[in-house]
């Protein structure tokens, strides 16, 4: 480990843990692929896959919001799916009451989910470690039971959406291709914002809290407040993902809020790469692939998902992407 001091200016940060790049060599081809996807599926006479891709992007957005607080903030939240569900139900309930405009419903989903995240975070973030995991799980389950018991919103059977949200501007979201592009624009913008936030002062503080929370407190940072803000933002973005998901399937059900769904989200992040910028995206893709391939072969595909997850957790604890990354210096 011999390393002589270099003559570089001190602030060059060759390989800082706190800095995250979109990696243009990956981002641009990927974006190009995603932009041209509807043409490709149409050419292959497999238009159905455009809506699969929409779903994948939405799940990637949700998983990335979880990765934000988990991988970069160090908060193991086992109730994140609840915020997705809250967002979905916001759209569904508004639609039930005649409000179809996406310009109102989608920001509303963002805000409502954010509020729930704020309330749950206020209580949960007072706890640490194992307590925090279990409390987020319990609160999410509470929301599940709440939605099951509210018969006027469908209860256990769920709430169908009469149509997809309306955005005006000559767009008809019922057309899968148009819906896909709207989703793509939203996800791309949020993903860029996500990277900017990570690299900002706030993002550095958040990641430093993950590295050594006690020291951050001793340095005078109001750690609780930073975590709460991050938790709330992540919940709000998850809510937006939920709004899009509700549109995609034209349906919301309490099952979306069940703690096992939160578990699935954690699985996605761990599969993709905890703390890696593309972790949420890679994880969503990996999960959907596994689901697609195994549920086609057997009705017991959860068994194989569990087996794969177990293998990943024991052998590549930082996710599949970490295997590609260079080994960190000790």
């Amino acid at each position: 480990m011999a390393e002589t001091g270099n003559a570089q200016p001190a602030y060059r940060h060759p390989r800082s843990l706190l800095e995250h790049s979109l990696q243009p060599f990956v981002a641009l081809p990927l974006l190009a692929l995603l932009v041209t996807l509807p043409w490709i599926t149409h050419a292959l006479d497999a238009d159905f896959y455009t809506s699969v891709a929409s779903r994948m992007l939405i799940l990637a957005l949700a998983a990335t919001s979880l990765n934000f607080i988990l991988g970069f903030g160090g908060m193991v939240s086992f109730g994140h799916a609840a915020f997705v569900g809250v967002g979905g139900y916001t759209v569904g309930i508004l639609m039930m009451n005649g409000l179809v405009s996406g310009w109102i419903a989608w920001p509303a989903a963002f805000v409502v989910a954010g509020l729930f995240a704020l309330m749950i975070g206020l209580v949960s973030l007072r706890t640490r470690g194992v307590y925090f995991i279990m409390i987020t799980l319990a609160f999410a389950q509470m929301l599940f039971y709440l939605m099951v018991s509210l018969q006027q919103y469908g209860g256990e059977d769920g709430l169908p959406l009469a149509s997809r949200s309306r955005l005006g501007l000559g767009l008809d979201l019922a057309r899968d291709t148009q819906f896909y592009y709207v989703v793509l624009v939203i996800c791309t913008l949020l993903f860029i914002a996500f990277t900017r936030v990570l690299n900002s002062r706030f993002g550095h503080v958040l990641q430093a809290i993950r590295e050594n929370e006690t020291r951050m407190m001793a340095l005078g940072f109001r750690v609780y407040h930073y975590k709460l803000l991050a938790f709330t933002l992540a919940g709000a973005v998850a809510g937006l993902a939920g709004a899009l998901l509700a549109n995609q399937s034209s349906f919301v059900s309490p099952a979306l809020l069940n703690w096992t769904e939160s578990g699935v989200m954690l699985v996605m992040v761990i599969l993709g790469g905890v703390g890696h910028v593309y972790g949420g995206f890679a994880g969503a893709v990996a999960y959907l692939l596994i689901e697609e391939i195994s549920s086609g072969r057997t009705m017991y595909w959860h068994f194989w998902l569990g087996a794969i997850l177990l293998a990943v957790v024991l052998l590549a604890p930082n996710g599949l992407l970490s295997l590609l990354r260079r080994k960190e210096r000790p």
């Binding site: 988990l70 193991v76 086992f78 209580v123 007072r126 706890t127 470690g129 194992v130 307590y131 995991i133 279990m134 409390i135 799980l137 319990a138 609160f139 389950q141 509470m142 039971y145 709440l146 099951v148 018991s149 509210l150 018969q151 006027q152 703690w259 096992t260 578990g263 954690l266 699985v267 761990i270 905890v274 017991y300 595909w301 959860h302 068994f303 998902l305 569990g306 087996a307 997850l309 177990l310 957790v313 024991l314 604890p317």
Partner: protein, 306 residues
């Protein structure tokens, strides 16, 4: 709501609370001493219930089924601990959560593969099938009384075990300090295996006893697992006493919530409120309780000092 109905609900909540205690005790011991968060705990309960029910139906005797099912689940627990669980002790909580979640997924489908998706029904043991008249006007199923008795017996045994025996001392020492436990002569490896197996036994007992009352089906572990988590959060991780208090409290609020709250709403605000808002409030009451406890005591009611 008359006194008889109230008493009946009280007994129901006691019965439910004690069974919840069986699960919570195992969970809190494993948490507190091995520092392991185990999401597959509910799966042990489910597997235990399946094994007991199957053996009881096959042999025609509930008691044989119970004993055999518990023994079989202990074996499952030991095998699990020695192959997988012990790799997790030194790992971080996220890893433990995901690994045991993976086990949960595998267990659910594994059970489905072996037993199919149809729930299994077992009858209560013959001698206890009927009601018992506790007070004039109050009959209560004998089998539920038996469950209450069994639960209380286990609680007493656990108390004696932990406070009066050498193993109990080692367990309590382990809860605070692994090195100290080792210095006291405890073989930590075997202690951990034993504890995990003991937790599995308690799960199987609860699952086996509840089999005749509930349906033995896939996913039965999930709902009770959450409640067990709430119990140990309220009671304090690592504290068996906390698990008991927490379980009884949760049992009270849960059972009480389902019956008393809608009745209260109905009495105060009319039958419409009772049927709409009532059930919603009842379902979230436990979590409100948990939030309230945590607000004043973030480490639970009886935190074991680590």
């Amino acid at each position: 709501m008359d006194a008889v109905l109230l008493l009946e609900q009280l007994l129901n909540s006691l019965q439910f609370g004690l069974m919840l205690f069986l699960l919570a005790a195992g969970l809190t011991l494993v948490f507190g001493i091995m520092n392991l968060i185990n999401l597959a705990h509910g799966s042990l309960y489910m597997v235990g219930a399946y094994l007991v029910a199957t053996l009881a139906n096959a042999s025609g005797s509930f008691w044989l089924g119970l004993a055999g099912g518990i023994a079989a689940t202990i074996v499952v627990g030991i095998v699990l601990e020695m192959t997988l669980i012990r790799r997790l002790y030194q790992r971080d909580h996220l890893t433990q959560v995901l690994a045991t979640f993976a086990l949960l997924l595998m267990a659910n489908d594994g059970v489905r593969m072996i037993w199919g998706s149809q729930p299994i029904n077992t009858p209560a043991p013959g001698g206890l099938a009927g009601p018992v008249e506790l007070l004039p006007g109050l009959s209560y199923p004998a089998y539920r009384l038996f469950i209450i008795a069994a639960g209380l017996l286990v609680a007493v045994m656990l108390y004696l075990l932990i406070t009066r025996t050498r193993i109990g001392m080692q367990v309590r020492a382990g809860a605070s300090n692994r090195e100290m436990a080792r210095a006291m002569g405890a073989n930590v490896r075997w202690l951990f295996t034993g504890l995990f197996a003991f937790g599995a036994a308690l799960c199987a007992l609860a699952g086996g006893l509840l089999g005749p009352l509930l349906a033995v089906q896939v996913g039965m572990g999930e709902s009770i697992l959450i409640l067990a988590f709430v119990v140990i959060v309220i009671g304090g991780i690592g504290s068996v006493r906390g698990a008991l208090v927490g379980a009884l409290l949760v049992g009270l609020v849960d059972t009480g919530g389902r019956t008393v709250v809608p009745w209260l709403f109905g009495a105060l605000m009319g039958p419409a409120a009772a049927s709409t808002v009532g059930p919603s409030v009842a379902s979230i009451l436990i979590y409100v309780l948990m939030a309230a406890v945590l607000f004043f005591k973030p480490q639970g009611l009886f935190p074991a000092h680590g």
